[in-house]
Amino acid sequence: MKTPALSSPLRSVRHGKLEETCYQARLASGMTLRIVPRKGHSRTFAILATDFGSIDRELVLEGGDRLTLPAGTAHFLEHCLFARDGEDVCELLAERGATANAATGFTTTSFILSCPEGFLENLDLLLDFVQEPRFAEDTVRKEREIILQEIGTYSDNADWCQFLDLLRIVYRTHPVRDNIAGTRESLADITPTLLATTHSHAYHPARLGLFVVGNVDPEAVVQALAGRSDPPLLGLSTIPVRGQSSHNEEIIPSRSEMETFLAVAHPRLLMAFKDSPPSSCAREQARREAATTLLLDLAFGKSSDLHTRLYDMGLIDDSFAATHNADRSFAFTVIGGDTKDPVATRDALLDALETIAQEGLSRKDFLRLKDKTLGSTLLAFDSVEATAYTLLHQHLRGGELEDTLVALEELELADVEARAREHLVRERCATSIGWPLARRRV
């Protein structure tokens, strides 16, 4: 998040092309607010988020000392915030017809609230739990058991396991290579005291943001939050500083290939292209992402010659996909899916990318896919959830709701071609091939 120095009053930004208005404010506590009202909707959806996720593995204490956090600390904290003194916030909210959930990502932890009525009261309750936790020994022990079960459940998810394995050869030191939930060993090192210390840093109001979409009056939300007496945060007088000493590393993957065995029916190819970290300028980053989106679609999308050829050869199927991830201190593109011949598919993809880098792309295809992407960007705003997540992500990088749309409109073919030459190159690629452990009859 940007330096939250001063509070700012509620202001509205009209995004005419989206038919949306976004209200923004920063409270005296430092907490950020972004709201997109939807009149006539039957519920309100909110994300309460902190910009603290699994890759935050170091706290800079007030004296300047650094405290290293075990893998899985952010996720463990998320689990503990839902339960307090034997009460569970989900249950209390359910009594009011509200549903809640939580998720820990690489760079954020988010708490989700969805309710048909009584939004302000429900929000108040959620904030109580998130901001005033208790880390009782027995709660912590119990949540550790549940997280171990969760790790076990995910260990049967072949997509997730192969993705994590791949990140481990793409990155050398960056903590994005560690499992979000941690390991049995790292969880053993997470104590109530450590959780409390981490909480005072990670959930400092200046790091919190509230992103709301639905039937809600922005002014009323500001009033309600301003009236809350937020707890003093355990001796923290200044905004916590982030420790990211392990995040800088070179752009070539640490290894270019790995093979693994998975309990799946067909071989799987997963390729990652390591990218330089995102730009700190929101507009610039929006342009870079727009160029990447178009590039992936032009190179690998359903209407591309490459997709047509590989699909017709039976090398790829519907599971084939390409996505770009860019967040705070890392960025990469992942491409892959089920394939009968992972090596032939990888070689075909790399060859095609080399051809694009040398010969460029077709302007006609570019214009057509630009129209498509503009359309699908607009369509995404029909989803209340997707709109709220866009508010969150744009806030984290200091941008606006409309940035993606504007970047797409301004995008030129040359930007996409430059991106192909810079990003999707052989030296920056790491490949994981997953072979079926055993084939079984279904």
Binding site: K17, R38, H41, S42, R43, A83, D88, C90, E91, A94, E95, R96, G97, A98, T99, A100, S114, C115, P116, K142, I146, I147, Q149, E150, G152, T153, S155, D156, G214, A263, V264, A265, H266, G301, K302, S303, S304, D305, T308, Y311, D312, G314, D318, S319, D338, R368, L369, D371, K372, T373, L374, G375, S376, L378, L379, D382, V384, R440, R441, V442
Partner: protein
């Protein structure tokens, strides 16, 4: 059903084909996937994709589903409302997209009007096979599928909506093409629309652009669904490589289809395992710490309630015992009024949220079209709100345990208790059978 509204940026349309689950299941299942390969006007997947991209990213999606013993072929069209971004080549984006959509369903690419292009057919037959094989990848879905195969062995419901591998391998191009014609002429077909549309113009375009306006014979009537009682908890062990066993308990409800207690059964399912407020979540996850997730799923047409969880090896007997105990609590009415209230409120709240999404509105309309339930969210909410404590107990008492499936890795099986796993299961589950 057409719901004209300007609340959404998307106009969403679904065309549903309904048919009985039978030996023709694979032959029907391949049709939507062949549709995606283009129409006679845009005779390839690439040409079709380009056509859609020109229309502001309109998308055509297909799906094959099963509701009760009905196989459902689903064709979806989503298009940006005409009031956004002027279309590059003029004209109405909706009308042009609908034209493409009707083309791929009713005029699929064919070299001579009697079959699909042979390469395309072979490839999609192979891809359908791979889709079925990939069921193996998701252990919870696999466990559910295996349970249904055992539990509903001689009933149509045991069929996978995509067909069996044998049926898929036996598919013939000409036969499939002819079969598609028969479906277009006779199968019940519904069109559901939500968005910024003029219903009259839409109807006219569908009438003129498809054979639906010229159907002269009555549509096929579908077979009534088969309902049976439970068989007391037969335990099946399914050896599959995995790190964490999956358990699925299959219960049958003896309530007949269309019974007025059906909304109460929904509330019972929510109370038992419908989220963080539920009895199973509180007991199995929060108190016993045996599972990260445990939940129920209700198939209301067939009258099946499934309880699913991923549990550690040593936790399997404990989790099975806990499920049985919580179901008993439900049947005996040993639950608090507040728990019941939460279960009902959550269902009402989720249902109400459907009004904020065109795709969720279409999900409800799809369910209504297939099950004969109400298209109205308000009516469905009213049904749930009218459910009393006694209704929930009666609905819960209609549940009989039929079959239990434990999917686990033989190589990792380690007896954490002195009992073998089947013995432990028997100790927890068979008393109920003896009681009956």
């Amino acid at each position: 059903m057409v719901k004209p509204t300007r609340r959404f940026k998307t106009t969403s349309l679904r065309l549903l084909v309904r048919r009985d689950l039978d030996e023709g299941t694979a032959r029907a299942a391949i049709l939507p996937f062949l549709s995606r390969r283009g129409s006679n006007r845009l005779p390839s997947q690439q040409a079709l994709s380009r056509g859609l991209e020109e229309l502001g990213g309109a998308s055509i999606g297909v799906d094959v589903a099963k509701i009760g013993e009905t196989q459902l072929l689903v064709y979806r069209l989503d298009v940006l409302a005409d009031r956004f971004l002027a279309a590059r080549n003029g004209g109405s984006r909706l009308e042009r997209s609908l034209d493409l959509f009707l083309g791929v369903i009713f005029d699929p690419a064919s070299p001579d009007g009697s079959c699909y292009p042979s390469d395309t057919f072979r490839l999609e037959r192979r891809n359908l096979r791979r889709r079925v094989e990939s069921l193996f990848d998701d252990k919870t879905s696999l466990a559910t599928h295996r349970l249904l195969q055992v539990m509903c062995k001689d009933e149509p419901y045991a069929r996978l909506e995509l067909g069996t591998l044998e049926e898929i391998d036996a598919l013939d191009n000409e036969e499939t093409f002819a079969f598609r014609r028969a479906i277009v002429e006779r199968a019940p077909i519904d069109v559901l629309v939500v968005g910024d549309v003029d219903p009259e113009r839409l109807f006219a375009q569908i009438r003129d652009g498809s054979p639906l306006g010229k159907r002269d014979q009555a549509t096929d009537s579908l077979r009534p669904v088969e309902r049976r009682g439970g068989r007391g908890g037969k335990v099946v062990i399914e050896p599959v490589p995995s790190n964490q066993p999956r358990i699925v308990l299959g219960y049958r409800s003896t309530l007949p289809f269309g019974d007025p207690l059906l909304p109460a059964l929904r509330v019972a399912s929510s109370l038992l395992g419908g989220g963080a407020h539920s009895l199973l979540f509180r007991e199995v996850r929060e108190r016993l710490c045996l599972a990260y997730s445990i939940s129920t799923g209700l198939e209301s047409v067939k009258g099946l309630l499934l309880v699913r969880a991923a549990v550690d090896c040593h936790g399997v007997p404990g989790a099975l015992g806990a499920v049985k105990e919580q179901v008993d609590r439900l049947k005996e009415g040993r639950f608090e009024e507040t728990s019941l209230d939460k279960a009902r409120r959550i269902l009402v709240s989720r249902l109400g949220a459907a009004r904020d999404s065109s795709s969720r509105m279409l999900d409800i309309a799809t369910d209504a079209a297939v099950t004969g339930g109400s298209f109205s969210v308000e009516a469905r909410i009213a049904e749930l709100e009218a459910v009393s404590r006694e209704d929930v107990i009666s609905a819960a008492r209609s549940l009989d345990l039929d079959t239990v499936l434990v999917l686990r890795d033989d190589r990792r099986a380690r007896p954490a208790t002195r009992q073998t796993l089947p013995e432990a299961l028997a100790a927890n589950l068979l008393p109920e059978e003896k009681r009956r």
